[in-house]
Amino acid sequence: MLEIRNLEAGYGPINVLWDVSLSIAEGRVTTIIGPNGAGKTTLLRAIVGLLQPRKGEILFRDRPIHGMAPWHLLEAGIAMIPEGRMIFRDMTVEDNLILGAFPKARRAGVARNLERAYTLFPRLRERRRQLAGTLSGGEGQMLAMARGLMSEPQLLLIDEPSLGLAPVIVNELFEIIADLKAEGRTIVLVEQNTHKAVGVADEVYLMLSGKVAWSAPARDVDLAVLHDLYFSR
């Protein structure tokens, strides 16, 4: 579904991604793990067009999409759920969700999708009139997830949902990701929490220092081996 070939990208003089290639199959959960600074988030930002790659190509359903603006990509069916701090803090929870359905083709379904979001995340329904900035970290992350689903994306990119959250909330979030997987969605999940991420994944990629260092089907992954790679033991 998504094919990335020899991607190189970075910020200003700093190159973060060096020659990254990977492919994402439809209906599967692909997880990208790796330590901090490995370039995982940068990869997602390059896919959705927030960052223009310097080299390489990105194909979505065999169509090149590198260089496209993020707002066109959403219409093409790719949505990114950024980390929870990227919600509209001075707008209400409901306004945040409604904005998730901004692309013209999605506006008709906004009421139905809103209802679905509230069913999936009952706590957001309680706080629908509250400003998003007043939410706790976990609720903010849930809002970001619910908002990302509002556009009914074909490909969902989720960026570090567990970042800075307590284990109980992380568990809750991963249950929801498992539910989404059960619905047959195509998901790319970027995570530091290898344990959780590998548990929910079909495919695992390990990134180290801006490169794909290793990849395997999730069932073949031995966490101990992975941790050795992580800590260079």
Partner: protein, 290 residues
């Protein structure tokens, strides 16, 4: 004495209405682009001069100037946006210098077209005094206060309820995240300039129908709008309304108890106090100028 104070408060309150129109245009543009449009006051003044021309040439009530003003001022406003979009490097300062340059061009264009003379409406209907107990005002002051309330209401509805209004707020709140929602920020930027132009058109006609205008007035208007914007924090409608009325009151009290010449001084001093003392305005949460 008390009557004098009451009267001053009443006039200041009414004046606050059109200040809100001017200030909100500035705030909206600042919200989406993070740019201070120093030519904003001149756009308001342009509308006021269109009202003057309509009145003096066509001999009709200046309120009929509004359609002409809307077209011309919105065009100019979008033109400002178009020029701004060429700036790539060091946007904050270069755009400030650019809009300052545009302000000079507009001021001098006004001077060339309409001369340096002070103008005011001659319509007796607009200037007729309406008296409620101890409070008196011109008819035009009341009309435009109501117009301003209606416009602010409409604006509130647009920002809170419409797709594009929400998009404008989303871009102001978090530009990156807005892009991820499928919003093209450039669209909201143009929209904010158009809306700023609409508000400026009404404000200009209001200004002409109860006050006096002359070409150098634009800069003071921009500074007043900026004062209100920093006073209100950025972009909240109730904040802008309150800030505008506060400035209107402060000016009216100065005129009553000191001199009308010192009216503009109050706004400037208020601006400096707010900049130095209140890092985030009265109601603000965002920003930070230090």
């Amino acid at each position: 004495m008390i009557e004098l104070v009451l009267q001053a408060l009443y006039s200041g309150f009414l004046q606050g209405g059109s200040y809100a129109l001017i200030a909100f245009g500035l705030a909206l543009v600042f919200g989406t682009l993070k740019i201070i449009n120093l030519a904003h006051g001149e756009l308001v003044l342009l509308s006021a001069y269109i009202a003057y021309t309509v009145e003096s040439r066509m001999d009709v009530n200046p309120v009929f100037a509004i359609p002409f003003a809307l077209v011309l001022v919105c065009l100019c406003s979008v033109l400002v946006y178009y020029l701004l979009s060429f700036i790539r490097k060091d946007r904050e300062l270069n755009s400030l210098i650019l809009t300052y340059g545009i302000a000079i061009v507009l001021t001098n264009a006004l001077l060339m077209i309409w001369s340096a003379d002070v103008r005011a409406t001659t319509s007796p209907w607009l200037q007729e005094a309406l008296v409620f107990g101890p409070l008196a005002s011109m008819r035009s002051e009341l009309i435009f206060f109501l117009v301003s309330l209606i416009l602010m209401g409409a604006l509130w509805w647009w920002l809170a309820r419409s797709w594009y209004g929400r998009a404008v707020r989303a871009v102001a709140s978090n530009r990156e995240a807005a892009k991820l929602m499928g919003i093209d920020p450039r669209l909201t930027e143009i929209l904010s300039f158009v809306v700023a132009g609409i508000l400026a058109s009404f404000a200009g006609v209001a200004l002409f129908s109860y006050g006096v205008i002359h070409p150098p007035l634009g800069e003071a208007l921009t500074l007043k709008a900026f004062t209100i914007t920093v006073l209100a924090g950025l972009g909240s409608i109730p904040g802008v309304m309150l800030g505008s009325i506060l400035l209107g009151l402060a000016e009216a009290l100065t005129v009553t108890f000191a001199s009308s010449a010192l009216q503009d001084l109050v706004g400037m001093i208020l601006l400096l106090i707010v900049l130095f003392v209140l890092p985030n305005g009265l109601f603000g949460v965002t920003g930070g100028r230090g």
